[in-house]
């Protein structure tokens, strides 16, 4: 049997770049996933563009659409790069990439800039880099790397994965950035489950996380303003209570709920929502963008977007489930979890199901680093699912 065709990869880029770049197999490419992602992205662009108009009249919250487009242009090459990156290279350099992300997050307290009482950004002059966004992908990669050969069969098998997540979470919490820390929890638990952790153990961990969160609140391990957000959330779930507290700590939640409720079934129309006109809803292009969409597109339009997003996530999971390479499958699964965590936390916060925290909606919200990581993640997911590399690990032969 000739094996030369196995040695020579017709899709590789040549002896140098070919080590880490390879064209996807376009026949295997998940065009439908890309299409949905593009639709979601286009919708996001549409709403951001609408928000950037007439801002001079209200004088509030100037939305820079041109700046957002520039960031898109920076992120697209990263998407393409991620599309072409070889799974093998990724696997071989997962530690390096994780180390790089961890280094950046560890440097933030020293070289980061402070804004609004939080130090989260590294000023690169032309770009404000938010390492916590990078860390999410870094954690996905390193967990996939570590769990590639770890079935989590014993307690000792859990230590390294949890430690690898715990360390950056500590730095993230010190910034403070509770929202980002919150997204890492479902990503981690989901990947552990995908790696073979028993469901019961995952449930216990979830309950443990809830208990930990409850204790943190009850014994004031969290910052004062974070506890206040939880208090506000608990006391403003219902409409009447929220309206009563609208001038106080529940201001943001009130504005978001008002915008959403105003949308009704068919929405107010693009740019016609009170959130666009009055501009009193904070962060309406990032943390509250769903409220704007639900207001202006209504339940029908906004619901369609949410369903499209859910479908996008599901299709990523479906695509991952078909992958025989464990590492790649875990990476793609992790990316699916990344989008799912962001979607549901963002929706939960805006709809009052979760306490207020700042978290953008990937592919829709503005935010340079978030956009960069979202497109990179999609590129990785689509690329990995369409690359084919032979592996002979156990999972190649397993269906779980």
């Amino acid at each position: 049997m000739k094996l030369s065709h196995l040695r020579r990869d017709p899709n590789a880029f040549g002896p140098g770049a070919g080590r880490w770049l390879r064209a996807p197999r376009w026949r295997e490419f998940d065009w439908h996933v890309l299409a949905i992602a593009l639709v979601i992205f286009a919708v996001g662009l549409l709403f951001i563009q609408a928000l950037s108009g007439d801002q001079h009249l209200s004088g509030r919250q100037k939305i820079d659409f041109n700046g957002h487009v520039k960031k898109v242009l920076v992120a697209v090459p990263c998407f393409l790069f991620a599309l072409y990156i070889r799974p093998r290279w990724l696997r071989q350099n997962a530690w390096l990439l994780y180390g790089l992300c961890f280094t950046l997050i560890a440097l933030v307290p020293f070289i980061g800039v402070e804004r609004n009482n939080a130090r989260r950004w590294i000023d690169l002059r032309v770009y404000d880099l938010q390492p916590s966004e990078l860390v999410k992908l870094g954690v996905i990669l390193i967990l996939a790397r570590v769990l590639q050969s770890n079935r989590l069969r014993s307690f000792a098998d859990w230590r390294l994965p949890l430690l690898l997540v715990f360390l950056p979470v500590v730095f993230i919490l010190k910034q403070p950035d509770l929202g980002t820390a919150m997204t890492l929890v479902p990503i981690t638990l989901g990947m552990l489950y995908l790696a073979g952790a028993p469901a019961k153990t995952i449930v216990k961990l979830v309950l443990g996380s809830v208990l930990l969160g409850f204790s943190a609140y009850q014994f004031e391990w969290i910052e004062g303003y974070q506890a206040e957000r939880i208090d506000t959330w608990l006391s403003s779930y219902e409409a009447e209570e929220l309206i009563e507290n609208k001038h106080g700590a529940a201001f943001h939640a009130y504005q978001a709920r008002t915008a959403i409720g105003n949308g009704h079934l068919f929405g107010t129309g693009l740019g016609e929502g009170v959130s666009s006109r009055v501009r009193s809803l904070p962060e309406l292009d990032s943390d509250s963008v769903l409220a704007v969409i639900l207001e202006e597109a209504g339940l029908i339009g906004g619901g369609a977007l949410l369903l499209a997003y859910a479908l996008f996530i599901i299709l990523i999971f479906v695509s991952a489930s078909d992958m025989r390479d464990r590492f790649a499958r875990l990476v793609v699964g992790g990316i699916g979890l990344y989008f799912a965590a962001h979607l549901f936390i963002h929706c939960g916060v805006n709809l009052g199901l979760l306490p207020m925290t700042g978290l953008p909606l990937p592919l829709v919200s503005t935010g340079g680093t978030s956009l960069l990581m979202s497109l990179t993640a999609i590129g990785l997911a689509l690329g990995l699912s369409s690359h084919y590399e032979r592996t002979l690990d156990e999972d190649s032969f397993k269906r779980y």
Partner: protein, 1007 residues
Amino acid sequence: MIGRRFGPLIVLVGLGAALVLIRAARIQVTEHETWAREAANLERSSRRLPYHRGKILARGGEVLVEDEERYLVSFEWRAFRRENPIGQVALASSAWTGAAVDLLSDPDQLAERAIELLELSPADLAVLAGTDRARAGDVAFYLRRLTGLSERADGRLRQLIAEREETRSVLSLAEIACNEVRSELRGEDAIREHVRARCWASLYDLDQLELSLGRERGALLEELARRGREVEDGVASRMFRRAAGVPAGRLEPRALAAWDLSWLQRALRWSDERLRQWHAATRRGWQEYMLTRIAPSAALEARLSAEETTIDALLWMLAPSIATSEGSQRAALLPWGEALAGATPPALFDGAPLSSAKGTLPSFLALSKNDQEGAWSPTQDLFLHGGEALELGGWGPLWDAVGLSDWEPPASAYEAFNRWERESSMEDRRLAQWLLVYWAREWERGWLMHQALDPGAPLLGLTEDRVEAALDDQDYFLVEQGRRVRALERSPSYEVVYLLSRYPERFKGFQVETQTQRTSNEGALSEDDPLWRVIGDARRTNLKEILVHRGGFEELRSLRQQALRSENDEFELRQLVESLPRYDELHGADGVERLMDEDLTGRNGYLEYESLAELVRRGGAPVLDWRPEHGSDVELTIDLDLQRAASETINFPEPTGDTRFQDEAWFSSPTGAICLLNPAGEVLAAASAPRLGGRSPIPYRDGQGAFAYERTLRRYTALPVGSVFKPFAALWCLEQGHLSEDEGLACVHRERRGARFPGYRSVDCHSSRGHGRLNLTAALRVSCNAYFAQLGDRLGTGAALVECAHTFGFDMPTGVNAHAEGQAIPEDFESPSFRRADSFTDVELQRGANGLMVLEGTPLQVARAYAGLATGTLPELSFVRDGVAEGAPLPISADHLAVVQGALKEVARTGSAKLLKGLDVAVKTGSADYAKMTPEVAAQLKFPAGSEPARRKHTWVAGWTPADDPELIFVVYLHDVGVTSSHSAVFVARQLLSRPEVRAHLERGGS
């Protein structure tokens, strides 16, 4: 098939999506109306459009009073401290040193101090941040503002200052920022000069503004600094209230001293003395607020309450103010509530049940309702369980200041009930103030008592979490208090308005606003003319009106907030907008303003619109636009030329030049009045002397010359009309048959006080020889007292004299307040003695017929009577055109009228007013005894020897012109004169009738 454990995750995603959609559906569908309303409220703005109150015009249309847009300069502390270099340097210094810094201790050093501060580096700020992050943040903020860089450069500088390890100065970093953004400012020196220039410019601008405002040097800055301190006081009060749960003003200094307020001092950088000053000011302010606002409001509400008509209503209304401390339950419960061992905190009322621990509770927490067993009332409880003498403590000065030092509190419940029954608003207010102080003192004593018993009680102390909460809110309070705008100068000069409008960037914190004010045209009518008292004043909506309309205000607020309204709602909204008074709306307080309030009042409008962005984008009309309906103008009957003539005549009478009888003192400092009417009863002029801010009164007289009163309708002393009443006594007697035209009555000498004087019984005549036998015409011509004293006898009874007086309008309203409820234009029309007319003696009747003693009247009453005498119809007087009611014909025959009219013509030709000969008048003089002649006053007079006047008098001249075809009725009244009318009032009357304005009026035929 989906394997490898992705199935459950997909299911979870599906469930998550479903949950999100269900929640979204609930908010967007089920709760849509609620949120749509909130959204509309976010977007919509509305305001009531005030109407302009109608103008008050003089006859002929000249404006006397109107609404005018006036400018107002206001000041906002926050904008000043953030944007003005003076504020920036002071606040930066204060934040850096941790101590309060004067706004501008040394103007010459401002620029250098600014440069010195800009030499600080982020590393220095980081060291400060190690101990106090807030102060470091403040310093960084003010230093950035001080540089005055462009927005882009400022943004970059902000990033550079955020780098804690940076050791270069802020000035150097500013240079870097400017270079990076390619600002016009390049180099540290340029920035330094730029900062210096800003500082000097701010000093110059402030000086210019101070000069334009007419303030003394340095006064404006002092005022601004005072505003800054007021803002700090406000912040401290809010923070204290947050931490303590009670307003600082409620606590006595002793109670406050028991608490550690170092956290407050640190937060605000206050010394101990400053803290003490704050508390003293806050305490005083709170006490004043309670006594001058809460107590009167409670008294008024208690009166308006329909449920309870005894003083118990006042207790129910007032107690929550002490018990709940404006809503704070903590203040109500403490220190009697949870601090009492085993006692459950009493429920707040109303409806507080009787408590078994009632004896230990203060009465404002344990008010009882009438219960079946004891039938107590709260008032009875108060005196039974408390009622000890009020010990004022720290309330003493304010107690005196509000006028309670001369007032005795009730000594028993019975007395309290009775006082409330009097329904006197002043007494109600005092009772409320007394009760409030009583309970406040009870509260304070209780606090001190429990503080002494249990100083560590957490409920009486400041807990850490509450202090933290207060410190967390400090920034919010700073913004909230700092943004409050205060009036700095009302009606500023044009120069000030120009400066602030043209150069707003140079005068940050100062704003020009417009405000509608009711203004008087002092060019038309002199500002010191007492006629303004007749025109009256306007006032703002008062507390009673607000309380009465409280339900309407609530309804209006609710409808305004409703984004989706039905037609009925819109109709009701319009009704309320038009009918409810605005808080700043003007209403007539007195005078014509009040009399014609309905005409002068317009209807408010209403404007409701969406955001400015929406208006511009859609180019559309507002949602609701109801234009206001302005009030109608009111034209007075006052002829300004005649008014001026009358006012100048009575205020600046020329000396008589009489060589024999003179009261020069009066002529140098006159007191009196002149009024002019037309026969229809329209008041053409009503002038009084002295004017506002007039001359010093004549010594040794009655002192009325010190008071600039309105004297044509008002009477401040006894005011007998004297002989000007005689024609009416004569007419009445003729008509009643007590007298015939040709009947002669004697004026001869008789025995009196051991001597012989001409006169009749108790009435002496002014002629030393007596007039002999006179008929009516002759008697009127010479004004014989004896003749009319006999008429007094013929009247027979007091009732007859009263009926005679009433027929001609004496002791009756003149009609100026027709159609008004109560007296809009103040008028003293009663003759007080007439109340006992049934018991008039003969002496009183004899003197009364002479217009003396029991018969009093105001100049306008006299004028009205003479108008009736001239025309046969007694008119209703009016100050308002188109407001003259029809007069009533006198029940006097034309023949009798003609007789008396003829006699009055003779008075001018050959009688007591012959000085008016040639002026075509019918007139009567009068000299009414007023006060005893003293040697001091006699020394002021000139009179022939042997003719010493026995008494001081009011002298009168009343009549009409032309004699045969009356067009003008005139009355001249001189107050407290030493000589008779012939030597005083007649001269003044001649001067009046000779005025060109009067001649011109007559030449126009009286129109």
